[in-house]
């Protein structure tokens, strides 16, 4: 495959970036998108140019590190797929592909396609946990009966890998899908119910402080989420928040 790549280049967080065009040839349709980026970087290094910086880690769709906005969509045109699992056969020979970083003011660009997603870490730290006494007397989680439906929905919410595709895809740069998944994965389980009120209150407060936009229920996040996190989680978070507000 021969491709033209239009890639966002930005040398650091302070500099002004721009789109730069590259031509690349002999790309196998069986390559993953990241392997294609590796091939491009080899080409750039051989020429003595600065390689394109991009985030990646596990390359098997579970770490949430890869974060490119490919041809107008987070993680590219495929559904339920991270960039590392996107294959070049999804593109046509001779195609021009536009590659940009996830854009949101809460995700500032560090370099090229790498963005700072530590805002998600801070939201997690605000309440995305359960407090367990680890003195040795902790009850085994498997001994606590949990309704199958609740366990399944909690697990579905817990599959969120925190990649930020929801924020990148949302026209408002809202983080509601991520935060609601993290709220739901605990609040549906008996271990998480104890701190449910503080959790939703603190996580939403932190989300707002990070400068994410407001959710307007377009549903773009659900469509683009590589793990298929459902909008039902946002409704659940809204219910829990309203309940907390009314109790206050």
């Amino acid at each position: 495959m021969n491709l033209t790549l239009k890639i966002w280049r930005q040398s650091n967080s302070e500099s002004k970036g721009k789109m730069v065009k590259y031509n690349i040839s002999e790309i196998s349709p069986d390559m993953s998108f990241l392997e294609m980026m590796d091939a491009l970087n080899n080409q750039l290094i051989k020429k003595g140019d600065d390689p394109v910086a991009f985030d990646h880690d596990c390359r098997e769709g579970i770490c949430g590190m890869c974060s490119m906005f490919i041809d107008g969509e987070a993680h590219g045109p495929d559904r339920l797929t991270t960039t590392c699992q996107l294959h070049m056969r999804k593109f046509k020979d001779g195609q021009t592909i536009t590659i940009e970083p996830f854009r949101a003011n809460a995700f500032p660009v560090i370099k090229d396609l790498v963005v700072d997603r530590s805002a998600f870490d801070r939201v997690q730290q605000a309440g995305g946990f359960i407090s367990i006494n680890t003195s040795g007397n902790t009850q085994d989680a498997n001994s606590i009966p949990i309704e199958k439906d609740d366990a399944d929905r909690a697990f579905d919410a817990a599959t969120c890998i925190g990649c930020g595709a929801c924020v990148a895809s949302c026209k408002n740069a809202s983080a509601m899908l991520f935060v609601s998944a993290k709220v739901s994965q605990y609040s549906l389980l008996p271990q998480g119910k104890v701190e449910a009120t503080d959790r939703v209150r603190n996580m939403v407060k932190q989300m707002d402080q990070e400068g994410f936009g407001n959710c307007t229920n377009t549903g773009a996040c659900e469509v683009e989420c590589p793990k298929g996190i459902s909008l039902e989680n946002i409704a659940r978070m809204n219910r829990e928040y309203l309940s907390t507000l009314l109790k206050s």
Partner: protein, 221 residues
């Protein structure tokens, strides 16, 4: 996080937007129910309009609540739009919004602005003359004037055209807003399929019904 901060949170704003929207949906249904009687029976329309125009509870309790609801919904809509624009000041070179969300959900501000423009015309047409009749000129009560006033307004084909275009945008606004309001207040379960069907029905029947009323009176004038 105190109660004041919680009320100002993004979720509270979203819920407030939803509740004011649902209130306006209820008002639209009531408004349509009264207006559709004008194509069936002149007497019934005059009777209902006279009741709504003279009943003190409607005039001095419900009407101020309605005006507050309309103003609140628009102001909150603008505030949310400005905040959302601030959340992404560097836009994408290529953004395929239509791949993951429909036009109506992405452009509520556009349909909302068209509805706001329509409301200015609508208030100029009906509400301002009504206030003038009752409270400025203090003319004698006439229970039979409403039908004639309605028909007179739809004499102009330009006004009928403007009303029809506005109602199309109202339909687009409802198509996303009605369904979205339920999601915002936390309602998303097995009954959501029914809510989505109700949304489609409401966003078709009400705007098309209003267009029908306008064209009916224009042709029968």
């Amino acid at each position: 996080m105190n109660i004041f901060c919680m009320i100002l949170s993004s979720i509270a704003r979203k819920v407030a937007m939803a509740i004011s929207g649902l209130f306006l949906v209820f008002f639209l249904a009531q408004h349509f129910t009264i207006n559709i009687t004008s194509v069936i029976s002149e007497e019934t329309f005059n009777f209902l309009s006279h009741f709504m125009g003279t009943n003190p509870i409607v005039q001095f309790v419900l009407q101020p609540v309605l005006i507050f609801g309309v103003v609140f919904h628009f102001i909150m809509g603008f505030i949310l739009e400005i905040q959302n624009k601030k959340a992404r000041t560097n836009n994408y070179a290529l953004y395929k919004g239509s791949e993951n969300a429909n036009w109506t959900s992405r452009n509520m501000i556009i349909s909302g602005l068209v509805i706001l423009s329509f409301l200015v015309l609508h208030f100029y047409d009906f509400w301002v003359p009504e206030i003038n009749y009752k409270y400025v000129e203090v003319l004698p009560d006439n229970p039979n004037r409403y039908y004639e006033e309605l028909v007179h307004k739809f004499h102009s084909p330009i006004r009928v055209g403007l009303y029809s275009v506005s109602f199309i945008f109202l339909g687009l606004h409802l198509y996303h807003g009605f369904n979205s309001a339920f999601q915002s207040v936390g309602f998303n379960n097995k009954f959501m399929i029914g809510v989505k069907k109700l949304t489609i029905a409401f966003s078709l029947i009400i705007p098309l019904g209003f267009i029908f009323i306008a064209i009916f009176h224009h042709l029968n004038d």
